[in-house]
Amino acid sequence: MENKSTSIDIRQCAKTYPDGTRGLQPTDLHVEPGEVLALLGPSGCGKTTLLRIIAGLESADAGSYIGFGSQDVTHMPIEQREVGMVFQHYALFPQMSVQANIGYGLRIRGASAEEQRRTVGELVDLVRLNGLEHKRPAELSGGQRQRVALARAVASKPRVLLLDEPLTALDAKLKETLRDELAQLLRQLRITAVHVTHDQQEAMAIADRMAVMKAGQILQIGDGESLYRNPSHPFVATFLGRVNQLERSADLLAHNQIMLGDVVLPCPDSCAGAAQVLLRPEDIEVCAAGTAGAVSCAVSRRVFLGDRVQLTLNVGGPNPLIADVGRDHAANAGDVVGIRIAPHHWMASRV
């Protein structure tokens, strides 16, 4: 299926509710044609509000601009925006068969019976619902419903596909399988998509780029890897994975160094000027005590997590360090070990 993918331009989009609360701070966002962008953040961060504004289900404050390609759709109702939407609980029409659900948009837009039949058939094949065409949504499993919802949303070849927590209603195991399936389908369809989720793994698996949101604001946009490796904000760092946060005194800051225990270590140039530096647990190398260049510290806690072991290390500062090591690592609670950190692993935290 060919899609008329378009870019999405959002300029100075804000949302203030009638009671005066700001659901969304003035926001700028650009999504390339065919790109999958995830809006990632905790509940109440404004990600769903932004999605609903793009959809046209929510009106943005005066002065906002929303464009699909070169067309200004700011004041266009959702019925005319040519968007496809997948809802959190799918919102399938209960009295209609799978086939009728998928074909609804085409029927409404007056497509010929032949075109309806062909498109529905293609989509049923694409999302592997063969044999279920005449079932009603109540007779389907959660995963099947999710696929019907997706097929229905893309049937009338929307300019933009919007996904509102599309996998939340599924159990954890199924979620993982469907996540990869969804990612693959979106690539096949080459459709511009905005995907709302609070699950960073889901966002990384599905989206080309993600926008991390907090309190109605986009904090940082980028692909999963660069956000994980170079978070510009401590919230981004903590939301995408666990992270150790370390404060630096004025003296250390001036020399761009960090102190662990009684050892002073250099930081990379990228950290210059940042009062706080961040370190991922998996970037701490735990070796035998006394290894050359290692800072020695005591293991105060060891937690076995299946694929890895999490160690809580006491380095003498106010906060302990969390380190992730392989599951066969020998360190036990009470042991004294050495830690080494490659300088480039330190990340700056600029608020």
């Binding site: 959702i78 019925e79 496809g84 809802f87 399938l92 029409f93 209960p94």
Partner: protein
């Protein structure tokens, strides 16, 4: 336990059975020994047959009007965020609490002088609609308020459906079980309505319950009882049929 159930059931059924029996015996004071007859039934049918048809006709018309007025009203109230909508809904429910006689009196005061209207069945029909509309609005309105319906509507909008398309194609089918239940309720209330109708009727516009009262008051006991039989013969099959339709629809559209 069984004894209590049987006693209560017998106590409840006895008046109805006696009443039915009274309608088919020759002379009630002499009991069954006087023999059985269909004379009373025929007499009722010739004298009051038209009230039976009128009641059915008014009940059907009342259901249609309650649907046409009530379903859109229920939708509007369910989607409105204004406080006035709540007040309006309470106001709409008033005719259920106010004695029918009072509502009827109000109607007479307001429109009683419009002779043509006053003397037609439409006058009674209006009274029935005022009385039954709140049931329709309440029952269908609470179905429209369900959260998943809001999402269904948004889904239909995202697929390009206009208001009419989604109202007829999505919303009404989704609340159809509630609509059917409300229709049954409106029909039943309209057929049995006496209070209001008694005030509003004219000698030429009588419904079944009004005719029943008339026959109880002015005729032999046997005729009144035969009237009850006719009522049951006509109304019960209609109600059973409506209920069966309701079940089928619920099975098809319900979850």
């Amino acid at each position: 336990m069984w004894a209590v159930t049987l006693t209560v059931t017998a106590f409840m059924l006895a008046p109805m059975l006696l009443s039915i029996l009274a309608g088919v015996v020759v002379n009630y004071s002499q009991g069954i020994s006087s023999g059985f007859t269909t004379r009373w039934l025929l007499e009722v049918w010739t004298g009051y047959g038209n009230t039976v048809l009128m009641s059915l006709f008014i009940a059907c018309a009342c259901v249609v009007l309650a649907l046409v007025l009530g379903v859109p009203c229920a939708y509007a109230l369910a989607r409105s965020r204004s406080a006035w909508a709540r007040h309006f809904e309470e106001l709409l429910t008033l005719p259920v609490a106010i004695p029918g006689l009072a509502s009827a009196l109000a109607l007479l005061l307001a429109y009683g002088s419009v002779t043509y209207f006053r003397q037609s069945f439409a006058f009674i029909l209006v009274g029935h609609v005022i009385f039954t509309l709140p049931f329709m609005v309440r029952m269908v309105g609470s179905a429209f308020r369900r959260q998943e319906l809001v999402a269904l509507e948004e889904a239909a909008r995202s697929l390009g459906a206009s208001f009419c398309q989604r109202f007829v194609g999505i919303l009404v089918p989704a609340v159809l079980p509630a609509i059917v239940a409300a229709c049954l309720m409106v029909f039943t209330l309209s057929v049995g309505e006496f209070n209001l109708t008694w005030m509003l009727h004219t000698p030429l516009t009588r419904t079944l319950p009004v005719g029943l009262a008339d026959s109880y008051a002015s005729m032999r006991l046997e005729i009144g009882s035969a009237y009850t039989i006719i009522f049951l013969i006509v109304i019960l099959p209609v109600m059973w049929a409506l209920q069966a339709i309701g079940h089928v629809i619920e099975k098809h559209y319900g979850k």
